[in-house]
């Protein structure tokens, strides 16, 4: 088995073992329910992207089936999502499962009603969040929006100075690339020569910086971004070597915590939850990187 196959299997098994934590209805706190609903939607999205990229592991299909049956089809969760349509990814979650071959006509009708009400269109969003919204609408086969126009207003479209970018800015940048390129499956015609010049100079540096500080989460997202905008750079090989070495024995990857968060996590007695909360996103991000930009090392 290749390096990619080994780390992918171990990470997928970690996700599978932790599946109960991905079920919003297995949690009591409202804050956790919102957090876990987003996590479940992200898991569905990875299964959808793996299917589009023809990733062979059967575990993606099995996970998608479990997310569909045990999470998405639960009526109370659907009520919760459709009552808070701007707080949780009610369209994106549905769109991902639809891309995996599932359809829930009743949910779609309710979603259509909400969309027709105009509420979701009226919500104020940053351009990168709007790209997410537009991507979800297109994936669910609702109305298509002009991604090029939204992209041009985004932070990435302004080619910001790389030294000053915060972690939140970097996520804004990676997500803008994910949605405009459909995770690397599309080369958007609206990317200009200046855009491509910026990608080629900024993204390798930011990837290198992220792995230097041990931020595997952003490191993985930036690897996907590099592949999606077709930037070939030596940092990719080095980053994969380090990511592979960073995988824990249980298959997961440490999430990026600052000193304060790490101290809170160490003191929290709910170990199952803390491990899931801190590491699930990074583990999914590495899986997504394997799907979209598999390592050659």
């Amino acid at each position: 088995m290749t390096s990619a196959g080994r780390i992918e299997s171990a990470a997928l098994e970690w996700v599978s073992r932790r599946f109960e934590q991905f079920r919003p209805t297995s949690h009591a706190s409202a804050k956790r329910i919102a957090y876990v609903t987003k996590a479940a939607a992200e898991l569905a999205m990875i299964c959808a992207v793996a299917r589009k990229h023809a990733r062979s592991s059967a575990l993606y299909r099995q996970l998608a089936e479990r997310v569909w049956e045990d999470i998405f089809r639960v009526e109370t969760l659907q009520d919760y999502m459709l009552s808070n349509p701007d707080q949780v990814p009610c369209i994106g979650f549905y769109a991902s499962l639809r891309s995996c071959g599932f359809e829930d006509h009743a949910y779609r009708r309710r979603l259509t009603t909400i969309l027709k009400s105009g509420y979701l269109n009226a919500v104020e969003r940053t351009p990168s969040t709007e790209l997410d919204f537009a991507y979800s609408l297109a994936e669910a086969d609702f109305v298509h929006r002009d991604m090029g126009k939204i992209y041009r207003r985004s932070m990435l479209g302004q080619h910001p100075l790389t030294y000053a970018l915060t972690k939140a800015d970097l996520y804004t940048i990676t997500h803008s690339i994910f949605f405009t390129t459909d995770f690397g499956r599309r080369d958007p015609p609206f990317f200009t020569t200046a855009d491509r010049g910026y990608f080629a100079s900024a993204l390798p540096r930011l990837t290198g910086y992220s792995i230097r500080v041990g931020d595997w989460d952003l490191g993985a997202e930036l690897l996907i971004a590099l592949a999606a905008v077709r930037v070939d750079t030596p940092v990719v090989v080095a980053a994969w070597k380090m990511l592979i070495a960073a995988q824990k024995d249980d298959g997961s990857f440490n999430g990026p915590l600052d000193a304060e968060q790490a101290s809170e996590s160490a003191a929290n007695p709910d170990r199952e939850w803390v491990t899931f909360r801190d590491d699930y996103h990074t583990t999914l991000a590495v899986l997504l990187a394997i799907v979209c930009a598999p390592p050659t090392v």
């Binding site: 030294y163 540096r205 290198g208 910086y209 080095a238 070597k241 380090m242």
Partner: protein, 241 residues
């Protein structure tokens, strides 16, 4: 291009003059170790004043740390080999001492080095480039990966607002003869942005303040402002040349 370079050079000159006033105002007030550092700053801001440099080198003793004399050497390296200041510094530094072995060069073959090297190793590499090139006066062939690696660390230092690590990296690139790199120009602008109203240089002021509150031994002037100002003026002096 030439006018942009002239404008940058002028900005550096103004910054150095401003820093010189801050440094000079503090020279008489401090203990010997601090004074040595201050002198180096003064030397960097007055690199062509042989009389001042001669006076300063007389004040340095071998106990004042070789590192201090080492910095001053940078400021006087353009002076005549026959000058008293130069001779005194050569003697302090042990003229003719062979350069340190470049044990880290082999590590450049590892493509993960830029991402795993701890700050101490980064600093060690920058310092040994200074010694091996004799402050940029001696040429040799380096692996192509070296400049890329130094430039990447420069980028990281700017992202981390780490003036302390950035300065030796800028000097190393300068001694390697690579001032025409975007990051090099960005780093000079970065240093200039970190000069305060009173002429000193500093970074991460909030962290410094917290550190001084938590640790009674920590002296903002001696442990932060002075080393950072001296490092900055030395670096700007090299870039100015």
């Amino acid at each position: 291009m030439a006018s942009a370079a002239n404008a940058a050079s002028k900005r550096i000159g103004v910054a150095l003059n401003h820093a010189a006033r801050w440094l000079n105002a503090r020279v008489p007030q401090n203990d010997r170790a601090t004074r040595a550092l201050l002198m180096l700053g003064v030397a960097c801001t007055t690199p062509n004043d042989e009389e001042t440099l001669d006076r300063l080198t007389q004040m340095i003793t071998p106990d004042d740390a070789v590192a201090s004399a080492f910095v001053l050497r940078a400021a006087v390296r353009k002076l005549s080999r026959r000058s008293r200041a130069r001779a005194r510094l050569d003697s302090l530094l042990g003229s003719g001492t062979p350069p340190p072995p470049l044990t880290w060069l082999r590590a450049l073959d590892d493509d993960t080095l830029p991402y795993v090297a701890p700050p101490d190793l980064v600093r060690q590499i920058a310092t040994s480039i200074t010694l091996v090139t004799d402050f940029g006066t001696r040429r040799r062939t380096w692996p192509p990966a070296l400049v890329d690696t130094l430039t990447f660390w420069l980028f990281c230092s700017m992202r981390d607002d780490d003036l302390d690590l950035l300065c030796p990296l800028v000097r190393a690139l300068s001694f390697l003869g690579c001032p025409d790199i975007d990051e090099f120009h960005d780093a000079i602008a970065f240093i200039l942005r970190h000069q305060r109203e009173d002429g000193r240089f500093s970074a991460q002021e909030l962290s410094l303040l917290q550190c001084s509150r938590k640790n009674a031994e920590f002296d903002l002037l001696r442990d932060a402002y002075l080393p950072m100002t001296v490092a900055s003026v030395w670096t700007l002096t090299e870039a100015h040349d």
